[in-house]
Amino acid sequence: MTNGWIDIKNTDMMLIMGGNPAENHPCGFKWPVEAKKTRNAKMIVVDPRFTRTASVADMFLQIRAGSDIAFLGGLINYAIQNNRIAWDYVKNYTNAPFIVRQDFKLPDDGVFSGFDATTQVYDKASWNYEAGGNVGPKTEATGQAPGASSGAAATGGKSSAATTGEQHKAGESVTQFEQKRGEAKGGQPQPAGASKEKTQGGQGSLGGGHQAAGGPGASGQGGPNPPPTLPPNVAYDLSLQHPRCVFQLLKQHYSRYTPEMVERITGIPKDQFLKAADLFTSIRKDGDMKKAGTIIYAVGWTQHTFGTQIIRTAAMLQLLLGNVGRAGGGVNALRGHSNIQGATDMGGVFDILPGYLKMPNPTDTDLATFLKRTTPTASKPSEWDSYNYWSNTPKFMVSFLKAMFGDAAKKENDFAFHYLPKIDRRYSWVEMWDRMYKGEVKGHIAFGMNGVMIGPNSQKNIEALKKAEWLVVCEVFPDETSEFWRSPGITKDEMANIKTVVYRLPGAGFAEKDGTFVNSARWLQWKYVALPPPGQAKVDQEILARIFLKVRELYKAEGGKFPDPILNASWSYSNPLNPPLAEVAKEINGRALADITDEKTGQVVKAGQQLPGFAWCRDDGTTMCGNWLYSGSWTEAGAQSQRRGTEDPSGLGIYPNWGWSWPANRRVMYNRASCDPSGKPWDASRAQVWWNETQQKWVGNDVPDFKVDSPPRDHMGPFIMNPEGVGRLFAPLAAFAEGPFPEHYEPIESPIANPLHPQQSNNPVVKKFTTDMDKYGTPDQGFNVICTTYRLTEHYHYWTKNNPMIVQLVPEPFVEIPEELAKELGIAGGEKVRVSNPRAQYVAKAMVTKRIKPMTIDGKKTYQIGIPIHWGYRGIAEDEGKTALDPTNLLSPTVMDPNAYTPEYKGFLVKLEKA
């Protein structure tokens, strides 16, 4: 979340889409309800089904699973056409005025410029800005309307008929900015890069910190040529009239997403779409900047072959409406597990290190090369300022290496950089199972993770495990993964032929462990042990420590290919066999290894003391820090995550003394954008931070997410994690695999060809898998019902089926089927149905409901059904033979998003029959 759960109470407008918070986040859902009750906020819910969330919404639209970009693109188009744009925000805080290279091409035919159809890879060089500074009309003297003399002619671009409602406001803003620029020139302009030095405690934040070059997907494809970089002095036109400025390209791109097109793709009738579009964008009616709207989503957006781009479309819409960085605004991802945010922050993903530092790849021959590749340089109009917080990458990286390898990480040996593995390929979830199926992966350790049930294409995972040499499962219940050898349909002979050795380790449950949970709002909250683990069960860190120490012993005894990283890993805990998590947490926060002094304030942190925050990280080996983002969470003042202060002086729900929120305990990220360019809050009644002229710094109720002493006249961008300093409506270079602007592509299995460009229906860079287990269905083969999968409030993934109280609440698996479809097929509620596709058959009882309606998709009558994911072949009802034993994910396809590598669990094709 850019904001936080409690902050939702500050909103005026909610778009809940790709998520069902009432179902999956009932406790957090109190805040949307609070906003409804206390602010009369409006809630729009867009979902393939009428959900529990929809039951309390003001407006519900049923959308076809997988058509979200079309809907959001339609909203962008509507906002532009109807002048519901936060003009000052867009001009000053986004890259809307930046000029894009002439050879960049929009995807009218389905692909952007640079596509190689044979390799399915883009050459992204043209996805870049042009250099050159201000190319817009010079209006500061006369204040003339900018639309008349567009900068297009001056730069030789093709002249475009830029006749929109924004011209009047454009003139105002240019004047305002030129004035500021004048002040900056008259005063002390900061030299470029000066801001990189001497960061104050409590600054910087992380967000969509996509760097210009070296995205994980691009690794290994680099080739001999150095990757293209962003120009240091970007060309821009504040009148937004230049035909190649980001805003005009964006406008042109989404002009194709007309209400009629939205209806064809999404199945949402035009009049309903227009009502929702009018309602959501009404917060910017008549240029009013006071109101704020939020977008709330979850894995209903991520689990598509274009999931990252759906979320990006939402972020772009929020930038256009000026909603990011503001109380009651933002782009808010609801995390699906108690600590999934923490897992991601700590690098529980193959292509990142803790704190979203990049993973080295084989081209990074030494630390300097790696740092050069992964540390961005500022790219902006030269008159503007950019904090470019990722310029601190070397400090965070060296401190991380010191935490990993302690004294073995020395300046002379590149701080042991060569100890880190270099990823030569993608090790994502689906690819890992694919390689196991191909016999390349020999073993698997499943820690609190039920890989068979997670799928996708569960049978492929089951077959893969049959080929593995060993499997270790650490769980609290016997689960489907550890018993893959008795999956439904297996014969005695087949069972006898499985050679995989399975080790089962008794893990501890959540209430038997201490440590922190990091919630969706980025809060670290310490939790305490309620009960000791029963019997021989052990806490996770003890199991991991014992395995690690044993492996280290083996390396010590036998040498091995490269023992150094294992032998030299820092392991200085009071109990090496069971490291107390408080010690680990302190290590993550980081401490000084020598006395360090803040040059500006003279403050000293003595050797051995905990770091007060990540601004103290050093790149010379005098600090260690396990994760810079969490630095400040366990200081000399103690564990900040254990704080339980309930004061909320501002009434905005900031609760600054409750737990600790990364980064630097700020609750709303990018909060500089909650103020106008002059540093005054857009809405005084929800003042988060502001510029204090007397103190010459940013102050406020929240911790400013900004360089605190950067005066508004310097025009530093609020999105300090981007090298541009501004929000990206256009994501340049390697930020995304499939294009700088999100484009609607059909799911891999879709009932129709993409109405925008039938010849390029799917995401062009998505590759299907090729083993004999990877099968994909088409409507021609009779698979013409859209199926989506989800969770229920009552259950939690695959382990609550072992809890009798919860089994009582929802005892059996079921398939939700529209009444009309049930009638056509002669199915009554409670009767068994068979859901099938080329991958599997799934049998369960039918829940016939009014909550899913038939849809018309591109003129075709189309049905959607839904299946909850919770049941498998181990559990109370399963063991008693009371339920069907099919995991839902037998049905989902092996295919994934090319940026985040998330499988497409939502919106695949099936056939439905009476069983």
Binding site: K37, P811, M847
Partner: protein
């Protein structure tokens, strides 16, 4: 000296807004207020109820609904009723109403019950069953207009929601209220709850964009009001919400029995006793009569 005998919560960590149950005094009439328009049917209240009352689990079966079971049970006092309602304007509503004992001001169960002390009504409005006095006749079941009391064949006693009289007596809110994540459940004095509910209904009726002209409070006066009140999107059609009666009535047989037939019967019985008494006084006890002599011709 008036010593406070109950523990009352003053503040709760991490809890937004006012403290539930704060200011509740035992002499005041209490009420639950359930805002049906913000209930998400998460069933936290169901679980809290089972847990607090330490009820054994039931075996349930799939019944084409999200609803846990068809009705409340002797070991399941609290049940959210799920109803898919297709409105005339084409919009769908998924209604979720927490069903439990309504704690009527004029409790049909109590009126129907013939067993001394099996059902009591406290001054705070809670209607509570005392199973040790229950004779298992199940008259209360037929006396309830809401189909709430449920018979346990194993113990031959009847059970229902106690409004957590044990918790309320100790100054705590009922378990369901405590567990509600969205704040659609409230607990306090009846007056406070009515005011909250009326304000919410007013807000719904007067919404500038999506008004619900029929929104209102359900507190049926046909039984003197209830100590569980609802805010409904459409208070003119409570039947939509899983069979909530618009005009709940205690079966006339019970009111007739209790107020007319029973007194009359008692009066008649009393008169009979009186008649016996006076007959004894004035006529004297029945004296054994000598056997009449047998007539020979009849033998």
């Amino acid at each position: 000296m008036d010593v406070q005998r109950t523990l009352e919560i003053r503040s709760i960590s991490g809890h937004p807004g006012t403290v539930p149950g704060r200011g509740v005094k035992r002499e005041l009439e209490v009420a639950k207020y359930i805002d049906v328009t913000t209930c998400i049917g998460c069933k936290a209240c169901e679980v809290a109820c089972v847990e607090w009352n330490d009820h054994p689990f039931r075996e349930t079966t799939f019944d084409n609904t999200y609803q846990t079971m068809p009705t409340t049970e002797w070991n399941y006092y609290n049940l959210i009723k799920f109803v898919e309602h297709q409105r005339d304007d084409g919009n769908l509503m998924w209604l979720m109403r927490k069903d439990q004992c309504m704690h009527c001001e004029e409790p049909g169960c109590l009126y129907a019950c013939p067993a001394d002390g099996a059902i009591v009504q406290y001054t705070n409005g809670i209607v509570d069953f005392q199973q040790e006095n229950c004779i298992g006749c199940q008259y209360c079941v037929s006396g309830c207009p809401f189909d709430i009391p449920k018979f346990n064949p194993a113990t031959k006693k009847v059970y229902k929601c106690t409004l957590c009289s044990d918790r309320v007596g100790a100054g705590l809110e009922p378990a369901c209220i405590k567990s509600c994540p969205t704040g659609c459940l409230h607990f306090g004095t009846k007056d406070e709850m009515k005011a909250l509910a009326e304000a919410r209904a007013e807000q719904l009726r007067n919404d500038p964009l999506f008004p619900m002209p029929n929104a209102g409070v359900y507190d049926p006066q046909s039984i003197g009001g209830t100590h569980v009140i609802y805010v409904l999107h459409d208070a003119t059609k409570p039947e939509l919400y899983g069979g909530l009666p618009a005009n709940p009535q205690i079966p006339p047989s019970y009111t007739f029995w209790k107020y007319i037939l029973k007194p009359i019967g008692l009066f008649i019985a009393m008169m009979g006793l009186l008649a016996m008494f006076f007959h004894y006084i004035f006529i004297g006890p029945k004296v054994p009569q000598p056997e009449p002599p047998a007539r020979e011709e009849e033998l």
